[in-house]
Amino acid sequence: MNKLDLGRRKLLSRALALGAITTLPGCDFEDLAHPDLVDRFLRTMLAFNDEMQALLFNPHTLAPTFPASMVTNPPRFNAYYDISMAPMVDPATYQLELGGQIQDKQPWTLAALRGLPQEGQITRFICVEGWRVIGQWSGVPLAYFLHRIGADTTCKYVSFKCADGYYSSIDMASALHPQTILALDFLNVPLTAPFGAPVRLRIPVKLGFKNPKSIMQLAVTNTYPGGYWEDQGYDWFSGS
């Protein structure tokens, strides 16, 4: 009886795949080192979708903003580890390291970053899982920062490495969007460890996982840098 049930279940999921070139479920993006035909099909379609999203991206379209009364504080925590494991970075000794196609690679202290023009926003943070929270972030507009450090903005990518080993990257057009900021504050007080202290990317034109926290290194490059989740199969562009 048991065996029969299993067989039926298998049959059902296969019927659902309806001729797809796969035996579902469980073989897609399971073994990253050995991509099978399905993985390659999905990767091809993801690459196509990234192209479409880049075409759809309008640098002048702003993400909607919200009244302060709608801000959720504290925001919702999300990472691939528990909130108690969030990295602690000493703000006194913090330095943002720069790399890649940048003229002035002098590292930036927190005080120096705070000395730059700051901008605030109350925007919606949408998680790839489907939930959303509204928050108020402020910090240095990334476009300003990139120009200030002499970054080659004709490059394709801006990449980030974080204190917890997380890493991600974004396309240059989204990096130069006016609402993309290197956030230092949430509700006008310095970010706390679980929410990205001391510096995080706040980019409301992308999904939440494209907003790396506790950034230690920023680089400008033409070599595809990937990302922690992106390398496992999340859509790289993930624009909103």
């Binding site: 073989c27 993801l46 999203q53 309008n58 993400a63 489907g130």
Partner: protein
């Protein structure tokens, strides 16, 4: 539309319709299965879909499957709407619908006295087909709203914002699944309607 003298019998379902029907069937099964996987990451209601009937082993894979098939669904759906209007299919087959005819045919259907006439849609069929076309348009609009709430903000606004758009998307899915259930049950009850959807079939000679 020459009324010349060729005697080639007209099919019950012309080939574009058959092609689009099966492409659509494939795309929506893939989209529903992967959509259930995505739903499970942040459920709207107090339940999740069993992993055995979702497509994609985890959220990332579910999204990859979903995004892989949205284009097929949208292109196919758009072709269907264009073809339906331009060929006169909608006008001939789905119109008119009168409340009286619908009530009459529902009554007949419930008493199992609604005969199936090849090539002619009864009022219940017309309502269901128009309803599922509407659900299809709604699911595409709400899906785009969830996917691109910044770039396609006007669609998101139309759906009542990002938060509501997820419920709209879910509801449209539920309507389509309900349609599919009825659709498949009816085919099982009247199996002779299945082959013409594959081969085209032959329309009976005398037609008004």
């Amino acid at each position: 539309m020459g009324r010349a003298t060729y005697h080639k019998p007209r099919p019950i379902h012309p080939w574009p319709l058959r092609l689009m029907h099966w492409v659509n069937a494939f795309a929506i099964v893939m989209l529903i299965g992967s959509g259930w996987q995505i739903y499970n990451a942040s459920p709207l209601f107090n339940f999740t879909f069993p992993e055995t009937i979702t497509i994609g082993a985890w959220l990332g894979a579910g999204i990859a499957w979903h995004l892989a098939f949205i284009w097929l669904l949208m292109l196919n759906g758009l072709s269907y709407l264009l073809w339906g209007f331009l060929s006169g299919h909608f006008k001939q087959k789905l119109w008119p619908i009168t409340p009286r005819a619908v009530l009459h045919d529902i009554g007949a259907a419930l008493r199992f006295k609604l005969p199936h006439q090849s090539g002619v849609y009864n009022a219940v069929q017309r309502v269901l087909y128009l309803g599922v076309i509407f659900a299809g348009i709604t699911i595409v609009i709400s899906g785009l709203s969830i996917w691109k709430p910044v770039q396609l903000w006007f669609l998101t606004d139309l759906c009542g914002g990002f938060y509501i758009a997820r419920y709209v998307h879910f509801t449209a899915m539920a309507c389509i699944v309900a349609f599919l259930f009825i659709h498949v049950v009816l085919v099982l009850m009247v199996p002779r309607v299945l082959p013409p959807m594959i081969t085209g079939g032959k329309l009976p000679e005398v037609q008004s």
